[in-house]
Symmetry: C2
Subunit: 242 residues, 2 copies
């Protein structure tokens, strides 16, 4: 199954990754988790955008959202190919993430078009920022793949325009959507915590392993501050208070 | 708006299309209808397959159906490009088909995974056969486009395998699914009739226009017999009586 069996356990200079980080089985497991979570995220993003397309009030909006869904599926295919290169079937890598991701989506099912757009923009925004932070701690090939699939497929501009127009037409909806945004963050944090507890290897990417450097407590604090700031900035762009 | 204004009204040899059939405004309107209906059909096929993907019992099934949805969207994009070449926005060409197609889908909403697969295979099968029949009466460029987007994206094999396996595991479901197949055909015919009545130009593709040949009554009869035979063959492949 594996093309990267553990080889040596030589101590490394702190601050950089070993020459072949995949020689460390914990690192390999962590990357498979990272890519598995990302793959399932892309697959659910596909489903969600396709579902939002059905709610779109115009045919052009429908086609635009379907096009974004298709781009997300392309990302899924690239991550799947990489997982197969690492000797694991995509479904096996995605499996541990099905329950927490589905729980998040079940608890944050949009009741309409605008809630769907806020969720796509705000929810994916937080996930994207988080993956980008974590990608600072991985090998260059994984980093390139992760960063390239995180590119915005056009939801941001689409959502901001539609939500701002809707608020301009009826300012009363801003309060309800702001509450919705807060609920999304709460549910995302609760599921992320669950993943962090259950997936030791993945968590070790961030906090470091026995021969890999990670973030210290001060850096973790700065990371959470960055995630929060970016979330506030997105809510602000939508015309909503965070 | 148009890149194919009416030019001459010269009489044509019966049995073949004029050299520039788009010079006839009724022909141009008919092709825009044909492509508009096909485009909206592809867009709804995308949505339906994406929705079926969510119902899939395995992650591999989910990805397989999402992949088919993506292929259908690629067809939509090609038809849209051709509509723009003909000087019309895709949403305008699709507009007349939204009500009848949505009515069909609202009345045949699958209540589960297997009904969704039967609908994808049997419903798309009839639509595909019908478009292929009509493509005998159009110019070569339109014919090539229509026939290329009608290619099966893999649903057939996928649906046949899953439905046969399900019937093998529980033979009682065959009766319910056979009834479902008959209901699909009934609803499809009722909406097709509505389209034929409302869209004169489109109907004239089949029955002929003032300087275009069409099918005579005997040929129309043979066409319906072919459509029925193919439907029966598909139900049979699923292990269902038509």
């Amino acid at each position: 199954m594996s093309d990267a069996e553990p080889a040596s356990g030589a101590a490394q200079t702190p601050g950089e990754l070993p020459a072949d980080p995949f020689a460390d089985p914990v690192y390999r497991e962590a990357i498979i988790d990272l890519l598995g979570g990302l793959a399932y995220g892309e697959l659910t993003a596909f489903s969600r955008l396709a579902g939002d397309a059905e709610l779109a009030p115009t045919l052009d909006g429908k086609a635009a959202l379907a096009r974004m869904a298709v781009t997300e599926f392309g990302h899924y295919e690239r991550i799947s190919a990489r997982l197969r290169d690492l000797g694991i079937e995509p479904h096996a890598a995605m499996d541990p993430f099905v329950v927490p991701f589905d729980a998040f989506h079940d608890r944050t099912r949009p009741t309409g078009w605008l809630e769907g757009l806020v969720k796509a923009y705000v929810g994916d925004g937080i996930a994207t920022d988080f993956y980008r932070e974590i990608s600072a701690y991985v090998d260059p090939a994984t980093q390139n793949l992760v960063r390239s699939v995180l590119q915005d497929v056009g939801q941001a501009e689409f959502a901001v325009k539609a939500v701002r127009e809707a608020i301009a037409a009826d300012p009363r909806i801003a309060g309800r959507l702001a509450l919705w945004g807060r609920r999304l963050v709460g549910e995302a944090l609760s599921q992320a915590q669950r993943v962090a507890v259950e997936r030791d290897a993945l968590a070790s990417l961030l906090v470091g392993g026995h021969n890999r450097p990670g973030a210290d407590l001060a850096e973790l604090g700065r990371m959470f501050a960055r995630l929060t700031d970016e979330h506030t900035r997105r809510m602000d762009r939508l015309g909503l208070s965070a």
